[in-house]
């Protein structure tokens, strides 16, 4: 049997987060000549790739909902286009604002991790503001649902309301997942175990939720 050669494990716990997990990967090709010394060991940490994979999946889900809405709206005469509760526009401002506050926190922590600053400049305050805005958004969505229900406009009142509830509830559940991610980032930051990839993945998810909300708002607002 051919000899099996092993090298020491490459995982380095002291490795800086910005340098990736150091565990081989997709840029890690062995060149045709020159041997292993020229190997570039720079694969991204899994969270950076994983978040895009997760967002692709969420995109597919909402694309399916959208296609259902388009077919259903165009296919039957019973569609009564709904007037959106005004609080949704306020919620839109809140969730877009939360993206800005999260980005401020992310940049401050990233600068600290990258060694640009000796101390992180109160990023926690911005993380808490983001968390509060996120909670405010979900509360605002609940108010919107209550307002509709108080007017007797429920799930089965008309198919347009069915889609409104399905899309907004599905989005709010995803936002709640993002809130869980934010709590996790805050707790890790406090424990000094926060990794750059975790922070970046959470903020990408959060920004995506904002973009998705604007898309859904336009989709529900306009008559196709």
């Amino acid at each position: 049997m051919a000899t099996v050669v092993h090298e020491p494990p490459k995982m380095d716990v002291d490795r800086l987060p910005s340098q990736g997990s150091g565990n081989g990967g997709w840029r890690n090709l062995v060149p045709a000549s020159g041997g292993l010394r020229k190997v570039q060991d720079a694969s991204p940490p899994p969270a950076s790739t994983g978040i895009w994979v997760a967002l692709a999946s969420i995109t597919m889900t909402f694309a399916a909902f959208t296609s259902a809405l388009v077919v259903r709206q165009g296919g039957a005469p019973d569609w009564q286009h709904m007037t959106l509760p005004p609080i949704l526009y306020l919620n839109t401002v809140v969730i877009i604002g939360s993206s800005f506050t999260l980005e401020i926190a992310r940049r401050r922590i990233a600068a600290f991790m990258g060694g640009l600053h000796e101390h992180a400049d109160k990023p926690l305050r911005w993380l808490y503001i983001t968390l509060s805005l996120g909670l405010l958004f979900v509360a605002g969505q609940i108010l919107a649902w209550r307002e509709l229900v108080s007017q007797g406009l429920r799930f089965a009142t008309n198919i347009s309301y069915s889609f409104f509830y399905v899309l907004t509830i599905a989005h709010a559940l995803h936002v709640s997942g993002g809130l869980g991610g934010l709590v996790r980032v805050i707790s890790k930051f406090n424990n000094r175990t926060l990794k750059r990839s975790t922070l970046d993945a959470t903020s990408r998810y959060w920004h995506f939720m904002g973009v998705l909300w604007v898309y859904l708002l336009v989709l529900l607002w306009m008559k196709l």
Partner: protein
């Protein structure tokens, strides 16, 4: 809080029984859990098929004890027409989701993808653990529907609207049964999404030093391609079943049209689109059949290469063809809807890619056959099942050419011809892939060898049995025998009853043969001969680690990869194979390109 995104290496070996065997984070344990789930599911699914076959072959056959399963469904142990459809639905759902997706993709993929890529584990082990337990919960929901008052749903695994969406008025099991079915599928989707997330990220980010994408074995490629399909297909099925549940419990009208009268009742729904369900379902449903078969293609290629002692004619073309199958599988789904009332132009649009998808399938088959031609194949159970897979895939695939054309499909649609087609090309072929994978990898998974003599006996009896069951289906279909009928009372069907009797006997016998496999599996697990690290003289990474692999797969030394995955019969080498981890130089024109 647990660190979901933490690198796998951060979780140490578990010590308690619960963390080690039940709520384990180790991809190898999760892979075995998936395998066990698939094994339980396939036994349930097979028993259901026996019950159906007995009822079809021998009309009003009293099956002793059947009334215990359902008093209403089988009074006097004789199945009612509705109960036949309920069992059929459960057979299809259990087999497609909890066997054909679970075993070749989730079970083997979980166990071997990280090892073949050279990783210590999946990157998100908590998601991986949840993936299994969510899937398991889905299975419980499905099985629970046997025990609700009017039994499981009877709508078929495709659950066509509107009958699936209007509740109990449309038949037994169409109320609670459908809701349980839909929740089961929703759970399954979540589980597969978590799994796909891990599979994709493992392949992209967790490869060891030197493991370029093209150096991944074909099985790893197959799992990677399948996980991309899983990510996109299950993400569409989940919203579809959510809308179906809402039509049931919230009184919405996504899939139910206006003024529908069922069983003399006017339903309160309005304006829904029944075709919408079919579009959403089949956008998932057709990729799903490739989700079931592509892992088998990868596994069988991997097994055959090891036993041929030479690589396939083209590693790259095989990978590209599997990728082409994945892409095209989303463009062909409308061929399930040729007779749905869809615009005939749409039928043409779906027919064309359906014929085109035969091209990558044919390329794959030709690469297998061309590579096998003239090779000195080592005959063992795994390689026999590999050959069996190819045989089933060709036999079932050829009938696909007929069904791809709308004009012929209109005649053959919903007949036993279709049943024969998909059972051979998708179900039996995938099952052969699972058997092949089991005989091939069992030594690595458990540390013990399986009995080869019993294995070969199992293969030959199953191979012959599968053809005896499913080839006559084509004849029945051409003779006009409609599927989903629970009794054959029409004049033109009565002469076909002897064929059904024959199929029933063949199905019972072939099912009984599987006891040989179960016995071999259990006996070998505990009393089989101890397995060496590399019993088949393979080259890929799973053979360069201990048997069974340690908690972090490679012990304290991570592997470094120097070669393409299949360096067999290399000229001038010290043995007839060079492992991926061997630094021995390969002087070949193909190497390192």
């Amino acid at each position: 809080m647990h660190d979901m995104s933490a690198h796998a290496v951060h979780h140490g070996a578990p010590t308690s029984f619960i963390r080690k065997h039940i709520f384990s984070l180790d991809h190898k344990v999760i892979g075995k859990q998936y395998y066990a789930l698939a094994l339980v599911a396939v036994v349930v699914g097979m028993v259901l098929s026996w019950l159906m076959r007995l009822h079809l072959g021998f009309a009003n056959f009293a099956i002793p004890g059947l009334h215990l399963l359902s008093k209403n469904g089988a009074p006097g142990d004789i199945m009612t027409p509705e109960y036949y459809l309920q069992l059929m639905t459960m057979h299809g759902t259990i087999m497609v989701f909890f066997v054909l997706t679970t075993a070749p993709f989730a079970a083997f993929g979980n166990f071997f993808l990280p090892i073949q890529t050279g990783a210590e584990d999946m990157p998100f082990p908590h998601f991986n653990m949840m993936s299994f337990w969510v899937t398991f919960t889905g299975f419980l929901f499905l099985v629970a529907s046997f025990f609700v008052s009017d039994g499981p749903t009877l709508g078929g695994w495709t659950q066509y609207a509107p009958l699936s969406a209007v509740g109990a008025v449309s038949g037994p099991g169409q109320g609670t049964g459908v809701v349980l079915w839909a929740f089961s599928i929703a759970f399954f989707c979540v589980g597969q999404l978590f799994g796909s997330l891990n599979f994709i990220t493992t392949t992209l980010d967790m490869r060891c030093k030197g493991m370029s994408l093209m150096r991944l074995p074909l099985s790893a490629w197959a799992w990677f391609i399948t996980s991309i399909m899983g990510l996109t297909a299950f993400a569409v099925l989940m919203p579809a079943v959510i809308l179906l549940i809402l039509d049931h419990v919230a009184g919405t009208s996504f899939f139910v049209s206006s003024n529908l009268v069922i069983n003399d009742q006017v339903l309160p729904h309005s304006g829904g689109s029944t075709l919408l369900w079919q579009h959403l379902f089949w956008f998932f449903g057709h990729p799903e059949v490739y989700i079931a078969i592509i892992p088998g293609m990868g596994i069988v290629s991997h097994i055959l290469i090891t036993n041929m002692r030479r690589p396939m004619l083209s590693h790259r073309v095989l990978i590209y063809s599997m990728g082409a199958l994945a892409v095209l599988s989303y463009m062909v789904y409308g061929h399930h809807m040729f007779v749905s009332g869809m615009n005939p132009v749409s039928s043409l649009a779906f027919s064309f890619p359906t014929l085109v998808i035969t091209i990558p399938s044919t390329i794959i088959v030709l690469i297998w056959l061309g590579s096998l031609y003239g090779s000195k194949l080592r005959i063992n159970t795994a390689s026999l099942f590999g050959l069996g897979f190819i045989s089933m895939f060709i036999s079932g695939g050829v009938s696909g050419f007929f069904l791809a054309q709308p004009s012929i499909d209109i005649l053959l649609h919903a007949t036993y011809f279709v049943v024969g087609h998909f059972h051979l090309v998708m179900a039996v072929a995938a099952i052969f892939g699972i058997f092949g994978g089991t005989y091939f990898w069992f030594p690595k998974m458990t540390g013990r060898m399986m009995n080869e003599s019993l294995g070969k006996l199992h293969f030959w009896l199953t191979f012959v049995g599968a053809y005896l069951i499913f080839m006559p289906f084509h004849y029945l279909g051409i003779a006009g025998n409609v599927r989903r009928y629970q009794a054959f009372v029409d004049d033109y069907l009565i002469p076909l009853i002897p064929v059904h009797k024959f199929i029933t006997v063949a199905a019972l016998a072939t099912g009984a043969v599987q006891l040989i496999f179960i016995y071999n599996l259990i006996y070998s697990r505990f009393w089989g001969a101890p397995a060496p690290d590399n019993p088949w003289q393979g080259t890929s990474l799973e053979w360069s680690t201990a048997t069974p692999p340690p908690h972090n797969n490679f012990g304290d030394k991570m592997p470094v990869v120097y070669h393409d995955p299949y360096q067999y019969s290399v000229e001038g080498a010290s043995s007839d194979f060079i492992m991926q981890t061997s630094p021995e130089p390969v002087h070949s024109a193909d190497e390192e390109k």
